[in-house]
Structures are given as structure tokens and as C-alpha cells.
Symmetry: C2
Subunit: 137 residues, 2 copies
Amino acid sequence: MTKSAAQRRREAREEYDAFLAACPSRQLLDRLADKWVALTLSALAGGEQRYSELSRAIAGVSQKMLTQTLRNLERDGIVVRSITPSVPVRVDYRLTPLGASLLPVVQAIKDWAEQHMDRVLAARERFDARDPQRAAS
Amino acid sequence: MTKSAAQRRREAREEYDAFLAACPSRQLLDRLADKWVALTLSALAGGEQRYSELSRAIAGVSQKMLTQTLRNLERDGIVVRSITPSVPVRVDYRLTPLGASLLPVVQAIKDWAEQHMDRVLAARERFDARDPQRAAS
DNA sequence: CAGTATCCCTCATGATACTG
DNA sequence: CAGTATCATGAGGGATACTG
């Protein structure tokens, strides 16, 4: 008898715990909770994209960070890289099913930031006015 | 005539765009897409927690990072700090309504990492076996 | 207890230059 | 076009010591 998806999920939830410093999921959390990951996956939401398209969509990302981010995501099974050996070469990236399951999660952070920016800015002003000393970055 | 919440949200979605390097939401995304933010808010999911309770719950966090994270979250209106002037002093943190709306979003990343750790580890092994050269961190 | 203040150093990131 | 390689910088983050 095979285990249900819900069963496996429950077990995994017990097996890994990001609250523990040494748990592998802590490192994975650190990799996924990243600005470039959120933007890269969001850019891939519409479907396959070329390297240059991603580079343009994600304003301000350096070649190094984009490549590094994509390489890590590829290694973790979240995106797939496909090469068309034309001249010049063409490289496309797309989400795997695993990546598709992660997309809504990281996109939600990006969306939350965009949608609540005003309230956060207002909160910062109140904080800085009330307590100028503790106001940091 | 006042605008509906949905209207305001739609406008905000157009007003801020984290794909743009100079947009304030890009910086906010950078602050929120953070390991310590995800763990701190997750720890506050159960309700008000003392500083020392948070410190214990989030294994491996330094005083500096915990304090810094809490201060930024407080400034952004995501958590509230309340002091009980006893001896010794007691400080509690809890989510604001704004923070409560962010909680599921960041908790989802932590949960995803815990629940898909096995698949990610398997993907890494496949990648490293297939292509040892490109295998990085 | 709940921080603040320093020192210090690694590593993440950006800029630049080069290549199949 | 889609990277790789190298260098340089500075901010992130840990360790330690001190305080109301």
C-alpha cells in the first residue's frame, strides 16, 4: 500500500525543521528567501524565457547574479535549461513542476511588497517621528 | 466617494513594481525575502512571544540579527514591541494586522523548504552526477 | 532580561574583461 | 547570445564585552 501525498507531506513536515540551525531545510530556506529568486521565478511565470529576456525583465540584475541564481535553481530542480545550438546559441529557461509549485509562494512575497508598500512607508514615518533614535536603515 | 479596498489594491499593484530596480518595493522585497524574517514571523504565529523565547525558538540566531530583524519589522509596522517595566524588564513581540497578513506568505516559504527538501536533494544529486563541473555550492 | 556597542572578517555582490 | 573568469569592495553577520 502506497502512502498518500498528504501522508508523505505530514511526515516530511516532521522530518525537516528550519527552526533547527543544522537542518538542511534551513539552508534551502536561505537560498529561496532571496530577492533574485523571487524575481526570477516571477519572470518565468509567463512561460519559457531566454536568458536575455530575463536579464531585461529583472532590471538591475548583474550577469553574475542572474547566472548564479539560475544555476542554483537548475541544480535544485526548480528550473530547466534548454540549449538551442544555433549561431548564436539560444538558451531558454522554464519552470519544472517542482518550480511551478514554488512559484506562487515566492510570487506572493513580491506581490505583498508591492501591495503594502504604502502602509509600510506610513509605518516607517510614524516610527521615525516617534523615536528618531532607533530609526535605522 | 471613497475608494474600495480592492480599488486601492489594484492601483497599488500598478504603482509599485519590484521588477524595477529603483522602485521602493524592490528594497522591501529584499528585506522581506530573508531567512530571519521568515523564521521570526513563523515563531510569532502562535501569538505573543518574549525576546528570549524567540531567541530559543530560532536556533542559531545571534542577538544582533534577532534584534536587527525585530527592529526593522517593528519599524515597518509588521510587529509590535511591548515593554513590561518589571525587574528584570520583560519585552514581548506580536504581529500587527499588517504582520498577520504577511505571515502566511513567509511561512509558506519555510513550509515549502521543509516539505520539498527530499526532492531538492534528489535533484542536486542528479545534477552533480550528470555534470560535476557545473556543480557549485 | 533584553538589549547596545565594537571589533572583525568572511563572503555575497557588483564591475570589468574575456570567450565559445 | 550567453555565459565564464577575475578582481575589488563593503555590507552582512558572528563573537565578545558592556549596561539599564
